[in-house]
């Protein structure tokens, strides 16, 4: 177990710079999720941590040791790949035991550790099988078994659940989190799925275009997104954004959208006339008798909740309401918005105000 420090890391491919000074501190035993849209550099960052990709500038340290030029096998890490990367010509037993064999451990220790890992992962029945005879979830567990027998300082997971179906993904999500609680090892986990990030992480690192947009605990990011990108990326369905200006009308400070929709404001020191982006999450909007008047576009009942798409001029607002709700298209509906849940962002810099 160890802390990991990524300090001002830069990556260039020739003259093309893809990683622009990334700083991440990971504490001992923490479960950190790197999340972002595809191409944001999260997998590259993980591969640089593993030593599979060289860094152009900056330092990466694991424990207290700078590992910039240390080959992967000496970094004391274990990695689980998206494709599982099992050895097709070896049995499950040999797959799990391979890292120990490479480390030239005695046979009885290998046997004991492999059986221990198989026990934790419920693979004991399958030790004699070959990877091709296993299901997707079992293969994923073998890949994890190969990582845990090494008892490394850091586990690296590269989108380990993307190849599984939706149901199995939920199960494996729980299993990985449980494994972390049991072993207490530092984990760095890459995913593009913000639900995985929210449910598993102690700390989330949101990345875009080779830059860290925000680092924080899941609920922290949800409640206080640093900018429009993080606000839109975290949370599902994603936050509503309306462009407009802050005005004072009838002694009340309000938000007026470009198409004239008036929305309530929280207490803020932002001066009148500032061009802002107004953010409100669909789940923080409810249906009321009085409030913001809009016209219904589509109503989507999902059983537990009802999603209502409504518009005013060119402004679309998406609400997730707990009550059963029925409305004909184009009917008038009133949305109640709690100002406490409103996020304001600068129109130009897109940063939180």
């Amino acid at each position: 177990m160890a802390q990991v420090k990524i300090d001002n890391v830069i990556k260039r491919y020739g003259s093309l710079q893809v990683m622009h000074g990334v700083n991440v501190d990971i504490n001992d035993g923490e479960f950190v999720v790197l999340v972002g849209p595809s191409g944001c550099g999260k997998s590259t960052l993980l591969r640089m941590l593993a030593g599979l990709e060289e860094i152009s500038d900056g330092t990466i340290s694991i424990g207290k040791r700078v590992v910039n030029n240390v080959p992967p096998k000496e970094r004391d890490i274990a990695m689980v790949f998206q494709s599982y990367a099992l050895y097709p010509h070896k049995t499950v037993y040999d797959n799990i035991g391979f890292p120990l064999k490479m480390a030239k451990r005695p046979q009885d220790e290998i046997d004991q550790k492999v059986r221990g890992a198989a026990d934790i992962l419920d693979l004991t029945k399958y030790l004699k099988r070959y990877p091709k005879e296993l299901s997707g979830g079992q293969r994923q567990r073998v890949a994890m078994g190969r990582a845990i027998v090494r008892d490394p300082q850091v586990f690296l997971f590269d989108e380990p659940l993307s190849n599984l179906d939706a149901k199995l993904r939920v199960t494996m999500r729980v299993e990985i989190k449980e494994l972390h609680q049991r072993l207490g090892t530092t984990i760095v986990y890459v995913t593009h799925d913000q639900i995985e990030a929210m449910t598993m992480a102690d700390k989330i690192v949101v990345m875009r275009d080779g830059r860290v947009e925000q680092i924080g605990a899941p609920l922290d990011l949800y409640d206080n997104p640093a900018n429009v990108f993080v606000a839109g990326f975290i949370g599902s369905p994603s936050m509503n954004f309306i462009h407009g200006t802050i005005v004072t009308e009838g002694g009340l400070r309000q938000f007026r959208s470009d198409s004239g929709l008036m929305l309530p404001l929280p207490h803020t020191s932002v001066p009148d006339g500032t061009k802002v982006t107004y953010g409100i999450r669909p789940e923080h909007i409810s249906i009321a008798d009085h409030g913001v008047p809009l016209r219904v576009v589509v109503v989507e009942p999902t059983g537990s909740e009802t999603q209502v798409f409504a518009k005013h001029g060119s402004d679309f607002i998406d609400a997730m309401v707990k009550d059963r709700f029925k409305a004909a298209p184009n009917a008038e509906v009133h949305f109640a918005i709690d100002p406490a849940n409103v996020h304001l962002f600068d129109r130009v810099s897109e940063q939180r105000l």
Partner: protein, 378 residues
Amino acid sequence: MEHIAGHKPALTWIVRICVTILVVLWLIPTVGLLVSSFRDRDDISASPWWQAPFPAEQTFATRIAGDAVQQADGYLLTGDIHDLPEANGAGRITAFGVSRSAPTGIAAGDTTDLPKGGTLTVHPDGSFEMLTPEAPDAKGQRLYFAAEVPPEFTTANYESVLYANGMAQAFINTFTVTIPATIIPILIAAFAAYALAWMEFPGRGLIIAGIVGLLVVPLQLALVPLLRLHNDIGIGQSFVGIWLAHTGFGLPLAIYLLRNYMAGLPKDIIEGAKVDGATDFQIFTRIILPLSFPALASFAIFQFLWTWNDLLVAKVFLPSDSESWVMTRKIADDLLGSRGGDWGILATAAFVSIAVPIAVFFLMQRYLVRGLLAGSVK
């Protein structure tokens, strides 16, 4: 497999018919060779090989002589044609004659007059009666006849090829050439292919381009300089020399094939092994080699067949004394040179020389199936 041809039944049938035609086209010469190898040279020149299973008609020349029995109207000589000299192998008689100008002018069963007086009757079953006014002389009466010859197969060709002087030595020599000439390039090429596929070093792309370039260089170009080099460094014409020559000529294709195969192996497996603590050498021996077995086997087949059938390189790089002859040289120089017209021997020699490659192919072809990677990555 039906998905490859498409789902239309008509198309499937066209594919099947085409495949059948191709198979038959390829098979006909081989079958002809096989049949010819079991026939003797007279049969081969008398009838084409596809008539070999059926009886052929052949003309014989002999003389009737023997003790005649005196009767009231002359001397009667009876007997069976099959017992006469030079009538070996004759079956049913179809026609006969007594003059050279019409050797088969008279149908079997009829009677003809003899030039010196008297009559001769020959029956289809071979029995004959000759009635002459005077006792036949010791020289006998000339007789020509046409008879059906039953199909005849012989292993004599195989005996003469296999037990020919030096053939066993040539067989062993061929193995002495082919086995190292197959294994050495595979060993070298596998290492090279791994490095070119998975190790980062400057100039890698140029080396690969160079190897692809070498694929198009004809080996004839290198024969003379290479032999001079061998002579200069003291290898001369020897088995070591031919191993090195075959290795060199086989390497570009071997490296190219193996590199392409290895480069196609999933990157994650190799990176996983690196993270798991394997060195490059361990990745090569424990992961890459077992997974590359289909490619290794297919190249082994190529190289084995090519070195087995090779005559040119063997002629240049092996000593010219007959102790060092390989099979191809033995067949080309010895059997063909001295018995060029003996088609039976040639067909047999061809069959003997392809027997081992065929066995190798059938032993190895199941490894050509690429299914080993199933289950490693999704």
